[in-house]
Symmetry: D2
Subunit: 436 residues, 4 copies
Amino acid sequence: MKTDFFSGIEPAQYKGTDSTDPLSFRYYDKDRKVMGRRMEDHLRFSAAYWHSFTWPGSDPFGGETLNRPWMHGDDAMELARQKADVAFDMFELLGVPYFAFHDIDVAPEGGSLREFNANLNAIADIFESKMQSSGVKLLWGTANMFSHRRFMSGAATNPDPDVFAYACGQVKAAMDVTKRLGGENYVCWGGREGYETLLNTNLKQELDQLGRFLSMLVEYKHKIGFDGPILIEPKPKEPTKHQYDYDVATVYGFLSRYGLLDDVKVNIEQNHAILAGHSFDHEVRLAYALGIFGSIDINRGDDLLGWDTDQFAMNVPEIALLMHEILKNGGFQTGGLNFDAKIRRQSIDPQDLLIAHVASMDACARGLLAAEKMLEDKALEGPLADRYAGWSEPEPQAILAGERSLEEVAMKGLETSPQPRSGRQEYLEGVLNRYV
Amino acid sequence: MKTDFFSGIEPAQYKGTDSTDPLSFRYYDKDRKVMGRRMEDHLRFSAAYWHSFTWPGSDPFGGETLNRPWMHGDDAMELARQKADVAFDMFELLGVPYFAFHDIDVAPEGGSLREFNANLNAIADIFESKMQSSGVKLLWGTANMFSHRRFMSGAATNPDPDVFAYACGQVKAAMDVTKRLGGENYVCWGGREGYETLLNTNLKQELDQLGRFLSMLVEYKHKIGFDGPILIEPKPKEPTKHQYDYDVATVYGFLSRYGLLDDVKVNIEQNHAILAGHSFDHEVRLAYALGIFGSIDINRGDDLLGWDTDQFAMNVPEIALLMHEILKNGGFQTGGLNFDAKIRRQSIDPQDLLIAHVASMDACARGLLAAEKMLEDKALEGPLADRYAGWSEPEPQAILAGERSLEEVAMKGLETSPQPRSGRQEYLEGVLNRYV
Amino acid sequence: MKTDFFSGIEPAQYKGTDSTDPLSFRYYDKDRKVMGRRMEDHLRFSAAYWHSFTWPGSDPFGGETLNRPWMHGDDAMELARQKADVAFDMFELLGVPYFAFHDIDVAPEGGSLREFNANLNAIADIFESKMQSSGVKLLWGTANMFSHRRFMSGAATNPDPDVFAYACGQVKAAMDVTKRLGGENYVCWGGREGYETLLNTNLKQELDQLGRFLSMLVEYKHKIGFDGPILIEPKPKEPTKHQYDYDVATVYGFLSRYGLLDDVKVNIEQNHAILAGHSFDHEVRLAYALGIFGSIDINRGDDLLGWDTDQFAMNVPEIALLMHEILKNGGFQTGGLNFDAKIRRQSIDPQDLLIAHVASMDACARGLLAAEKMLEDKALEGPLADRYAGWSEPEPQAILAGERSLEEVAMKGLETSPQPRSGRQEYLEGVLNRYV
Amino acid sequence: MKTDFFSGIEPAQYKGTDSTDPLSFRYYDKDRKVMGRRMEDHLRFSAAYWHSFTWPGSDPFGGETLNRPWMHGDDAMELARQKADVAFDMFELLGVPYFAFHDIDVAPEGGSLREFNANLNAIADIFESKMQSSGVKLLWGTANMFSHRRFMSGAATNPDPDVFAYACGQVKAAMDVTKRLGGENYVCWGGREGYETLLNTNLKQELDQLGRFLSMLVEYKHKIGFDGPILIEPKPKEPTKHQYDYDVATVYGFLSRYGLLDDVKVNIEQNHAILAGHSFDHEVRLAYALGIFGSIDINRGDDLLGWDTDQFAMNVPEIALLMHEILKNGGFQTGGLNFDAKIRRQSIDPQDLLIAHVASMDACARGLLAAEKMLEDKALEGPLADRYAGWSEPEPQAILAGERSLEEVAMKGLETSPQPRSGRQEYLEGVLNRYV
Ligand SMILES: [Co+2]
Ligand SMILES: [Co+2]
Ligand SMILES: [Co+2]
Ligand SMILES: [Co+2]
Ligand SMILES: [Co+2]
Ligand SMILES: [Co+2]
Ligand SMILES: [Co+2]
Ligand SMILES: [Co+2]
């Protein structure tokens, strides 16, 4: 370890289900094969720079609680280097194969965009070296274009074209760095791409701006040969009253409108899903159905709270359904499970950071194993296929293929007297409980 | 009047703002000109058959409260005729120019689809005559494919292709009747086109079924020369856990995916908007921005309740913003303000039905007048234009037109230091209060 | 079995965790000892008459789906007897030791309160005999004073004192029958004790009416020697906009205000808890803290829906925390786990009713076993005791005992410089996951 | 004016309804008599120190936007003095008769509680002088015991008794200063008196700590002769997952449990009301019904957002109902309308601060005038009295007085056949619309 922040702590190991050590894994055994692929290669865990290393524990009603050494000092670049040391210490203690960051998480903004870009590249040099020695890879990079006051009324959707231009400058640099570090995706979360009140908002204009911005980014990605997809992360609200990338369905319509379906996919977060009124499973399944599934920000929200709590995912049944969906569709391609999760502000000990990740990694591994078993048994897929079997017949297939007119089918309808069949929901819920 | 249900009550008249008669209008003066068009022609009010004439006052925890004479008796067709008499009495007492109905609202379902279609056409004969004598027109017709148990797992999205065929038979008849009665639109609300649990749902299959169903309906509409648009009414949930036509943005994506943007628009309901987490104004403005605005189901939900209360719209500020949006876009074309609203189940007197409509019509008229004045003064549009003025310049226009690359704009971004300008939200809220 | 409704189905048996038979128990082994008491005696399961036997599968947008034979016929008393036969068949197939009912669930209302009371007593005769032969006992009885239109504006809180009097007549009969059948509790759910709008509501008057009503019931209970507690079931809304028995804390304040804390406790339902913005565990723990815990309506709501879905509880982690709380406090006294849960309206097969109960009973048994283990290990109680250990010291005890003034403690405060300690939330979440 | 922050702006004047000047009043005419009392004496407006002078415009996803001069500098006491100058400038430009503050809003915390107390008293000296010269009075004072990390796990409810002692020290000083400045109330908002997870929380212990803390404060208030009431401000959640002072009903139960009903009342905030699932009017009416109404934090939340937005109240119909309730109960005693409201973070111009207050004061004045007229006309009170008239009869009065047994009333119930009467909700909504 480079630092003594986690001093005395050993790398987390798989110790089996009898272990009571909170810094050991009970299920996550990275080399264990699941449907022919190593667990580590299935889950593709990524640690997030922002929550673990840039957030001081503050909330709207209170200040810093965590007291991180690298947040206090005068030399911003030196602090950024200390932060990187602790970050890679954590990545190695956890054994996560990936990490992810916003530009401003890792480098000081300085006094100008030029200076920021220089700082960013200086830190990228350090990352390159650390990535090489540790083997930790970059799942994705992104630009934070929502925290600074210049973005208070939006970045791409700002009423001021100068802000749009500034955002172009910033996103270009973040894309360049992501490419240089071998990032497998590039993420856009539109934290201020929305509005506080329609009274001062030209909705159509702002959507067009956003469409143009994304299109330019796609063109640039192709130009520089960045292979990974661009991922939009939907969120319905917070910080703004309404955000344009509301949910998966909204993003799909947006991509369709602006001709971006080939190049842009989604990064789905559980907490954002529930803020939009959807289950996590819904968002994931819909993204697959629409062909835009990209990656996951794994976390959990509080169903009874109306804001983004970004807690560590611990609920095995939900994760099992998530992994079932992902395995069913062939597993992750460029995506992974990125821990967009933060410890509670009362979890002030360094080891709380590790314990939280370990416990959530283990819950994911357990979900993966349950999903594997359900798929092997066709526990859910079997009944599903049965339920829709009627649509495999030639006549229904012809209808779906567009070979029948309303009048033709309506005539047939006059002759039928369809009898409902049980949806068997409670049976299926019981089945799920057998696996989790 | 044909019936004595509303006996002793005179048609509602405009009596000016000093009137305290709850059966008079204080603002709605149908021949008054607003921006060159009669109030009646702007607002295009429609009474809804279902809430006022088919709902007995029941809710999930209680039965009938309203005791309507036409709901009790043995001869279903005779009861349907009595209901029609009362309905047209109400239309005339209110002076609404339009009405709207589901097929099963007006005619008994009988023992088969054939019999239902015959009943529906027999009632349509009566409607034709009543429409002629009263001058009341049909804003839209629709088929109820959600109440009967055969539709418990969906109509177009049912796992059983026989139900799909049955739905084709029913929707064809409803479209035929709507055309015959001169309906100006045809509405689809997918009350069971969704799911209760993803455990038993093939999401992609169901979306494809729904896309095919709508496409067939569009083809049929063209074939028979039905001029009006088909309108999807978005609703996120209730009765199902999740409905496919979640909100305006979702419907847009769906129409885009299945190539239906030319023929299908949306019918937006306030209560459905807030259940989806959106303001009414948002949904309307978005529909205009996306080019799919069709019509309005005017009502109001309770912001603190999680179900569709379908109350009468009374909140003038919200209606003023609605009418501002509609006027700004040239006013209704085929659409109108349909009262998809029901009296509370404790409002058991016949005159409660009339008082509720009159009070809400008056709130709409007041909102219209406020909107006219705001537009005349450019009270909101002026500041809005100022805010986005920068985008009218040649360079920003070139960006929007796709004539600039990311690198070009990024270079410019390096030279700017954008300074935020006030969003002036409280100022604009104060302005709105000056008009309502 | 008395009827052929569940024909061919054998009583559910414990078959161990390898069983895949949905009509067998994998965890519920009724004679197994848990902390010295049989599982059956811990869980005290009760089946609910209403959801399983009186609900036809309707919802606000659709009618009957379930087609129960005892819901169709002319002789209301004969149908009530058929229903009782099927109900006791189910109780025996499931092996539940208790049931619960509303008066109108079991007997036809007839044309007057006198007639209803006679019908109710006639069915009670049948129940007595069936209870004796089957060994099934009555967990609680209650009066439905919310479904009939006479109660549309409340029962005890009605603006019309005649309705109050009618409610007294009905509740007296229900209490009499409950006592006669050996009911262990009497429950009051105030389904219409609330309001639709404050515009027509005298809140203080209605609270006083409700207080008086409960007081009279308590006096009567003592008079007739009914031993069990009266239980109020909190619910915040639905069917009304606002219900007076909003949540546990509100009921506590109400009981305190009207001097009812000695005789009235609460019956807590999971779905009502979340509608009020609380976790189930919160409501249970608060009821114990305030000394008013009575019993449980075990079910689950949908966190993303705003109405009472009354689904079967399947969520083992939540149930484990519930049972942990109950075990920690000595286990149920008069209360139990009453299945206030209904199958989905698409679950139309008779066996769906059984499968749902079996799966949920099993989830409860599994939660009980997890709770037992957590208590044995002090997995949660240990860290909790450590966290508050400081308050066991003499000086803090003196403060709590009221022996110190603000000035005295404030002086001490001037000398301290308290250092926060980690709340360890993620650690504890990981611990819970070890047990479920 | 002492500072040039609002340079060039004149005090807001009443200019009548034709005024379009956003810095003038259209309704608020402070000397106008309403029901025999000056408008200013009715509304008792108070400006809040925190939102307007200590909040930099940050939110959980972004930093400072407002760039206030007094927030940047090295000499904390000098900055506090500058802030006081600007604050009193604003109070005078608005013409508000009151202000309110938390201890840490006005004085730097320094390095110890002793130092903080000294700073607080130094600023109080300045306030005394400014209050004398301006005539602005103190509506209430309070202690911020939620922002500092020492309070992360609660102040009075902290697991560490040392934090409890520290809180005693802080609250005593804040009470002393409030008394010295002639504060008319003392407010307690328990921002951390709640929990993040029940897994680490001893609920009963914490409630007892909170009860003891409040009791000590009440004893101290009497000892020093502070005349005003202590007011608890209910809020259900945020920052914590669950706060003990959830809503008015919960606070009532708490006060009752700990014997505090004589000395403690509530300060009700609209935004907190809706976060708890209640209308503002509900909370106010309930507080009057329970005898614990104290004061109002006037603001508005966003019904579609799940956090405390603290926007300026602009909604005239809601305010009219609020003022109707307050006037009906005799008007404010020690309480008033405190602007616990903040401008949006995009409202960065100094005049936005003034415009927001002026617009909201005007909306309040308009609501007051509407309420006066409704009361004069008995527009709502007349129908309400009619609805409950039956309870004025001798027999119902005897029931309410506890002079009848359940059996006696039940006997009467057997003879009645109550007929429901219309609740007339839509009629009453139309009536309200006549006044607003
Ligand atoms: Co995320
Ligand atoms: Co998040
Ligand atoms: Co509608
Ligand atoms: Co609706
Ligand atoms: Co219940
Ligand atoms: Co329920
Ligand atoms: Co407040
Ligand atoms: Co607030």
